[in-house]
Symmetry: none
Subunit: 142 residues, 2 copies
DNA sequence: AACAGATAGTCAATAAAGGTCAAAGAGGGG
DNA sequence: CCCCTCTTTGACCTTTATTGACTATCTGTT
């Protein structure tokens, strides 16, 4: 089991994240590339393949002077996840009842599943309830 | 978390604004530049990129003797509408580029146009920016 | 009213990041 | 050995920050 460079960079970042206070780190792409003696785009590759929203990570970045890449990990299972599941279930229901098209429900499911991770749970709960109401409004419009 | 000069000036101003009685401050561009040991136009740069209407700020200024720059953060309904319009415009753009179907953009436009009315503007601004990013992610998924 | 001095604004050049994309390389399974 | 997928690299692109020369607009004085 020979670990690739990408694997090692991934591991390195994950250790940093787990050790951090708020499960969130900020790195400089070029600096990290230098540490691992590779091209900067390798770092981009690692981040885009191993720190996706599907894996529970959220990334932001800024270019230009003093640029950075911030990676945050979210707990998919804590506060609000019940509400999240309920909302996803509701979207599926609307799809079953032909109140939404497949493309609409795909989009919504994506937004609801992977978005709003960085909100405080109370806000997220309120937001999801609000969203549900908005959806009801929408499908009852015609 | 290394900060650029622009970041530090931004932070400084935001603290002043939050501490102020009426969420409004008046500064002298050249004086602030001296404080941060930079050229005055740096201050202009910070203000024009970080204290925009979209971010919920409003600025006025006067040149000449006793000149000033006034920055106000607004609280009420003014706040969200620029961001809302911007997001709707972005959705339309995605539709034009065939990144979204008509049914998807209709749904989104409805949610964005009629929802979130009762949220505090600061939250709404963040939410809309977040939504925009989620949409970008979604259309780039394939 | 004209002028002088004091401010703030504009704009373009330059630097300093990160992003994109496609081609080449490396491994592994059939 | 061939093919497929994942990795690595590098040339080129976009965004953001910093600086300074030049411009515009006030205020106060003569």
């Amino acid at each position: 089991m020979k670990r690739s460079l990408a694997d090692r960079i991934e591991q390195y970042l994950k250790v940093l994240i787990e050790r951090s206070e708020d499960k969130q780190i900020e790195i400089q792409r070029s600096e990290l590339a230098e540490t691992f003696d590779c091209v900067p785009s390798q770092v981009t590759y690692v981040i885009s393949t191993r720190f996706t929203e599907m894996e529970g990570y959220f990334t932001e970045s800024r270019r230009g002077g003093k640029g950075y890449v911030r990676i945050s990990r979210y707990h998919l299972e804590n506060g609000g996840s019940t509400v999240r599941k309920e909302l996803v279930a509701f979207i599926d229901e609307l799809l079953q009842e032909d109140e939404l098209t497949t493309s609409q429900s795909d989009l919504l499911r994506h937004l609801v599943s992977y978005g709003f991770m960085d909100m405080p749970p109370e806000h997220r709960i309120r937001l999801f309830k609000h969203l549900r109401k908005l959806l009801v409004d929408y499908v009852n419009m015609d």
